[in-house]
Symmetry: C2
């Protein structure tokens, strides 16, 4: 009778209406709803899915360790994160071994730059596992901006703003269309790289893409270099040539 | 009283359950449902959304011109396609001018390699327009394959298999993760490019990604080079290193 199953459920980019029917069904069927959050902060994915959680369903918050004292590239940081995923996977494995269905809800799409994949890698070989694809954050952003992003034989790239300036210039020059993620404190460098690569005139800066308070402006018109970590910059590859 | 509006509605990669709640609402509110199809073929997007169309709602099929006699890069082909989008936009404009809500249903995400953007570019400056983001075909594929595709600071690329072999080698060597689209008759060339760039061992071939009859195998295990136009090859950037 056991239907134990791990489900990675994409809940989309922020607007609860951008959840899929399949995500809704998974939330309805799950015995346990797991969600990632920073310690001391509400879970974004839980906030998106909140209206669709069954009353009284068991919840398993997975709280990222506080690692602000550790440099991100340090062995200490890597060990802390690995321990965190190991423990989270063990907690979920206990529920699965007891025959429960565990849905891990994820912002955007679970397999695209998501934390869920660390659990999937640890559990999918031992338990039944299923992925419910979701609308990505970047789709939410270019849709909210009304911006056609790529067409035909365009080469499209997702680039982290953490790349060195020269690498950003090289890759932006080599892409037809691009989305630059994790903008935050890298905005001055990114702005220079877009200018050098000739891509600044059409670049659009997007903050809180599919939230009610979304902010979208041409980057060239943004007067300051303040940006939250999750801001993105869209560089469209396509423009109707008629 | 007129609420005339153009809505580009992403209906996701194929599984009707991967439609969003917002797409469902748009279908319910629309006076006219427009969909692209090849002349003589059923519309894929309409098939995905079929169960959610209101009985008797007006439909506007937009039939791509038959252009098999024209080389794709020819001026004749470009003119035929431009005329087609001009006429489709004019038909939709007539409905909008009459105060109707027109939903153009699109496989995947409307602004990501979709035909809808040609209508958006022609109409969004004259009429209210809204985009409902959808789950992309590529998300559907890597989710069905249970494959984590990109993580952290990975550079992710979408590449058309139409690129010359040397370009494919160069770009595959320069990407952490990639999705290669429009595989079809380019598979032998793509296979060589993956081998040269060292990416063949982990590449996964996917056909009909989120359909019930999906086919997924490591490309290195695929015995032949037969592939439909819409097959994709996934090259994951990420693997748990524990």
């Amino acid at each position: 009778m056991s239907a134990a199953k791990l489900i990675g459920v994409g809940v989309g980019p922020g607007d609860p209406e951008l959840m899929t029917l399949k995500a809704m069904r998974a939330l309805g069927e799950a015995d346990v709803i797991a969600h990632f959050a920073k310690a001391g902060h509400a879970s974004h994915s839980r906030a998106i899915a909140a209206a669709h959680l069954r009353a009284g369903v068991a919840e398993l918050p997975l709280l990222y360790p506080v690692t602000t004292e550790l440099p991100k590239c340090s062995a200490g940081y890597r060990d802390a994160i690995r321990d965190f995923y190991d423990k989270a996977a063990a907690e979920i494995a206990a529920h699965l071994a007891a025959g429960r269905v565990v849905a891990v809800i994820c912002e955007g799409d679970p397999m695209f730059y998501g934390s869920y994949m660390h659990l999937h890698a640890r559990l999918a070989s031992r338990f039944a596992a299923e992925i419910v694809a979701g609308v990505t954050g970047m789709s939410g952003c270019w849709s909210a901006a009304g911006m056609p992003i790529a067409q035909g034989d365009d080469v499209f790239m997702v680039l982290p703003a953490t790349l060195p300036e020269g690498e950003l210039v090289r890759r932006l020059s080599d892409a037809d269309a691009a989305v630059v993620m994790k903008v935050g404190r890298h905005l001055p460098k990114l702005r220079r790289a877009l200018e050098t690569s000739g891509r600044l005139p059409r670049a659009i800066y997007v903050e809180r893409g599919t939230m009610a308070d979304a902010k979208m402006i041409p980057l060239s018109a943004k007067p300051d270099d303040e940006a939250p970590y999750f801001a993105v910059v869209l560089v469209p590859g396509w423009e109707e040539r008629s």
